[in-house]
């Protein structure tokens, strides 16, 4: 499903991760671990296509990746339903998915409330609801359970399990144990060594 080999990513012109390779098959998840600033977000953005890689290749079927980052792109003035309907239409899905998403993330009683008047946890659930609406197979999630309470984390894990059972895959960067059976990949060994980083500028410099 998702295939990375020998991928290196750079942040601000400096390579932060190199030689990253892994394979993510349908139906299972991969948790990315590593201390802050190692480049988890940079790697996820590269996989989502927002950022070019310094070298190496990322293979994934066309139009199959849905990305969710810290900032969940929720518009404060729009209600829950309007937010979800917008993203449903952007990804070309019917509004029936919207109701399914609202059910799954138990936002039923919030549907007509503008996102401005929602707690961080509820907004987070709306952000994850957006993922359901994209109907995309590979979820690329950056710290999805930030500011979620215990119950919501459990809810989120159920949604991910359902997604995996449905043949989807998930790549999640998180420090919290989600209770999903998934391999974990520690990125520390892939940390770019300080003095030999292949900064495209510096590589052929001296």
């Amino acid at each position: 499903m998702l295939e990375l080999n020998d991928v290196a990513v750079a942040r601000g012109g400096i390579t932060v991760l190199e030689g990253v390779s892994f394979h993510l098959a349908a139906g299972n998840a991969l948790i990315l671990r590593g201390e802050n600033g190692i480049g988890k977000t940079t790697l996820l953005r590269a996989i989502a296509g927002l950022q070019p890689t310094v070298n190496g290749t990322i293979q994934a079927p066309e139009e199959s990746i849905a990305f969710a980052s810290h900032a969940d792109g929720i518009k404060a003035q729009l209600t829950v339903r309007e937010n979800l309907e917008f993203w449903a239409e952007v990804y070309g899905n019917a509004s029936s998915d919207v109701d399914a998403a609202i059910q799954a993330m138990n936002l039923m009683e919030l549907t007509d409330r503008p996102a401005a008047q929602m707690s961080a946890g509820q907004k987070r659930r709306l952000g994850l609801g957006r993922l359901l609406v994209t109907a995309r197979l590979i979820w690329v999630l950056d710290e999805p359970t930030v500011s979620l309470d215990r119950a919501s984390v459990a809810l989120f894990s159920d949604v991910v399990r359902a997604h995996l059972a449905g043949g989807g895959a998930a790549l999640i960067a998180t420090h919290i144990d989600l209770g999903i059976e998934a391999e974990t990949l520690d990125l520390t060994p892939f940390k770019a060594k300080a003095d030999v980083t292949a900064d495209t500028f510096d590589g052929d410099y001296w």
Binding site: A66, A71, G73, V90, Y91
Partner: protein, 220 residues
């Protein structure tokens, strides 16, 4: 694509800040000029075309930063860039939304302000037409400036420095249409130039803006 347009329009109306800001600025500018220049009707009549066009241009400039900045801050821009919508399409739709919420109200308000500035009566039609043709170019070029400065600190200051020189040709032809109409000359030549300029800008600028956005998002 349509969803994005409807969403942006809904946001602009709900937020209310959008077109109200541009319109208010245009009104204030038009009222300030006579205080500075003096109330003599003939003086005002001769500078009215220029004032109206410069006013429209500056009002557009004011609300450019909002085109991408809001979506950039809450991450929506990243999500849209990784969605099936082409970036060029997103930029074109956002420019259209900016034109509808800021450009169009200016076109409607301009004749009223023209009265205040004692604009010669026969040039109102041309004023409306030139603004109608010219403001889309202002929105599309402005969107390019917004795309370049998205995510930069002090982006607002930079936008005016980058975008105003790009507005010069539109301003020259636009104001010229109204001035010639006022003097009873044939204003069709600058009008065609203005139309050509706008069509060219609308066709090309979204690609330049998308390239700038791609570079900008890559960096953040």
């Amino acid at each position: 694509m349509k969803a994005l347009l409807l969403r942006d329009l809904r946001l602009a109306i709900r937020a209310g800040g959008g077109f109200g800001l541009g319109l208010a600025f245009f009104l204030i500018l038009a009222t300030l000029i006579p205080f500075g220049v003096g109330p003599q009707p003939d003086v005002l009549a001769s500078i009215a075309p220029g004032v109206l066009w410069v006013g429209a241009l500056l009002s557009c400039l004011l609300s450019l930063e909002r085109i991408f900045a809001l979506d950039f801050e809450d991450g929506a821009l990243d999500l849209m860039a990784s969605s099936p919508l082409p970036l060029e399409g997103i930029v074109a739709v956002k420019s259209l939304a900016h034109w509808l919420t800021t450009g169009l109200p200016l076109v409607v308000a301009a004749p009223l302000l023209g009265l205040m500035l004692n604009l010669p009566s026969q040039s109102y039609g041309w004023l409306l037409m030139s603004l109608l043709i010219g403001t889309p170019a202002l929105s599309v070029i402005g969107a390019f400036g917004a795309a370049i400065t998205v995510g930069l600190k002090r982006g607002g200051l930079l936008i005016s420095l980058l975008v105003l020189p790009l507005y010069v040709p539109t301003l020259i032809f636009g104001a010229d249409v109204v001035r010639r109409a006022g003097q009873g000359l044939d204003a069709s030549v600058p009008a065609f130039m203005l139309a050509g300029l706008t069509l060219g800008a609308v066709a090309i600028m979204p690609f330049a803006s998308a390239a700038a956005l791609r570079a900008g998002l890559k960096g953040s």
